[in-house]
């Protein structure tokens, strides 16, 4: 249904000498900051890396709709309901054009969705945490979208053309979401005692998982070095994490909220906020499927897919019957 057939364009396999020349020319283009486009030659590993990264990103948008969707029907005012609906709709849109960007690399949306539903493909672990009170919706916008933007703004300059162009629009919408989230936190932090408690509780639960969103430390990151050479990635995980902490900590203090890190301290000399050690064992557990909501999120996606099967079949059957008059 969604196959583009772009993988059919070049099936000829180059010899080893020719391959070496192609790789060299490819890297020269990357070094010259040229964009790689779908029909251009590219190393298989580059293609695989991008499909993995873009599809993970798309899956994260789709699974990310669930924790926020949890509060749409309970949003505390009509304005908040409208904003949250618009935000979650944006995320579906991001999923859609990220799947499209990945399809230009020869993998169909159907294949990618199947990989998500079978558990083979990953999505951002952050969405395996629950949204327990309304301030969580603020915290997700402020912290989770804030962290995502740190990761994603450099992707607007990614060497792969379709991905970099998709990211320009995604980033614009994400930065809007981030500001909306912070605005919710502001109202909550300045509200009643109960609201303030919700805001503090949300920050305590989302802070460390947000820092983990940047991925393992550079020394433990499997993909960083090659991705930097290919200019898929522009900054290391630790660089981006530090940047996020430096921007976010003063925002939290401005609201009078406390970060759940006794070691958080401003280094006057460097101007950076030092923070305590990240509990990577928790990160690993959530990655392995043992987070508080992993099973629920997967079940929700699988159920939606299964219960929608008859609709998709009907759509195809109807289209086939009317192919002649289209």
């Amino acid at each position: 249904m969604y196959t583009q057939g772009l993988d059919q364009s070049d099936t000829r396999t180059p010899g080893p000498e020719e391959e070496a020349q192609l790789v060299q020319a490819f890297q020269a283009r990357i070094d010259a900051e040229e964009k790689i486009e779908p029909r251009d030659w590219m190393p298989d590993a580059y293609r695989r890396t991008l499909v993995r990264q873009i599809s993970q990103h798309a899956h994260s948008e789709i699974v990310g709709m669930l924790p926020e969707g949890n509060w749409i029907t309970r949003a505390p005012s009509l304005k908040r309901k409208a904003i949250l609906l618009a935000k979650v709709q944006d995320e579906a849109g991001h999923g859609l054009y990220l799947y499209s960007a990945a399809e230009t690399l020869g993998t169909s949306r159907q294949q990618m969705v199947d990989q998500l539903l079978s558990g083979k493909a990953k999505y951002s672990s952050i969405f395996n945490y629950p949204t327990l009170n309304w301030a969580d919706i603020g915290a997700i916008g402020w912290l989770v979208d804030g962290a995502a933007i740190m990761n994603q703004i450099p992707l607007c300059r990614c060497s792969y053309g379709p991905y970099s162009r998709a990211m320009v629009r995604v980033c614009k919408e994400e930065s809007f979401h981030q500001r909306q989230g912070y605005e919710i936190m502001t109202v909550m932090a300045r509200g009643t005692d109960a609201q303030r408690r919700m805001a503090q509780d949300a920050l305590e639960r989302w802070w460390w998982p947000s820092l983990m969103m940047f991925g393992p430390s550079d020394s433990d990151s499997a993909h960083t070095a090659q991705s930097m050479r290919w200019k898929i990635k522009r900054f290391t995980n630790d660089e981006l994490r530090q940047k996020f902490v430096d921007v976010t900590v003063p925002q939290g203090h401005f609201l009078g909220l406390e970060f759940p890190d006794p070691e958080l301290k401003l280094d006057e000399q460097t101007g950076h906020w030092n923070f305590g050690p990240i509990d990577w064992s928790e990160f690993k557990q959530v990655l392995e499927g043992n987070g508080p909501c992993n099973a629920e999120r997967m079940r929700a996606r699988q159920t939606a897919h299964q219960e929608g099967a008859w609709v998709r079949q009907a759509l195809l059957a109807h289209a086939e019957k009317h192919e002649d008059i289209r």
Partner: protein, 255 residues
């Protein structure tokens, strides 16, 4: 502006606002559960349109009432018997066929209603209607296309669509009921003659069902009634319990 009782206008606006709010709330329950990504976006989009219309209508109703209430006080601090939406829009989502049949029945009606309301003597209402009519036109087209696809698709989709129409049909009569308030609003040049809308609503329905190859429901079937007078189904209480939870639990909080 024509002469009309402010209490009448308040109630009239409330009916329109409640209908959009309850249907928008229902559609928003679909988030994360749609049969495909494109429909995920369409359902959220329609929910957003309805909540947006409802905000304008309820805000205006609150202003007309003149008691200092707000859109949120009207939405979040009224109980079941004070809601004036027709029973159709509070019916549970059911499967995708149910949600699309409900959406088509209501949107096709509302498209015609707001088309007329664009010419209301109340300029504020006319302005809201001018925006709403475009949105309902899209909703009716979108849902109508799905009725055709599902009716004409597979045996299963056809069975499901037939069942959805059978179950929801008895709630369509109420849409066109005309009471004393409607008559007074019509006389004031503010409201719409609902009977007049029914003919073209039925014609469009017959066109859609014809394309879908689905049986036409009987005009003289038994019809439920009562929503506009505050006599609702059991479903509305649960919908409100969810929707109103936070402002009810924390009445002194602002959001």
């Amino acid at each position: 502006m024509a002469v009309c009782d402010q209490q009448d206008l308040f109630t009239y606006l409330l009916r329109l606002g409640d209908s959009g709010l309850v249907l928008g709330q229902r559609l928003s329950e679909w988030v994360g559960k749609a049969p495909m990504l494109e429909e995920e976006m369409a359902l959220a989009n329609m929910a957003l349109d309805l909540v947006g219309q409802s905000r304008m209508l309820l805000s205006y109703a609150a202003l007309v009432e003149g008691k200092g209430r707000t859109e949120d006080q009207l939405a979040m601090h009224r109980d079941v018997h004070e809601f004036t939406n027709p029973l159709l829009v509070e019916q549970p989502n059911g499967d995708f066929a149910h949600s699309m049949a409900r959406q088509y029945f209501y949107a096709s009606f509302a498209e015609r209603l707001f088309d007329k309301l664009q010419h209301s003597a109340d300029t504020q209402l006319a302005g809201i209607a001018a925006k709403a009519v475009k949105e309902f036109r899209y909703h009716a087209r979108h849902a109508g296309l799905w009725m055709v696809r599902l009716g004409d698709g597979t045996e299963e989709s056809r069975d499901r669509m037939i069942r959805a129409i059978q179950e929801l049909w008895p709630y369509t009569g109420e849409l066109f009921e005309t009471d004393e308030l409607d008559r007074r609003m019509l006389e004031a040049g503010i409201g719409v003659d609902l009977h007049v809308l029914r003919k073209s609503w039925r014609e469009d329905l017959d066109r859609v069902l014809g394309e879908a190859g689905l049986p036409l429901p009987a005009d003289d079937a038994w019809m439920h009634s009562g929503g506009r007078a505050g006599r609702h189904s059991e479903h509305l209480g649960h919908l409100l319990a969810t929707m109103q939870f936070l402002p009810r639990a924390y009445p002194d909080a602002g959001w």
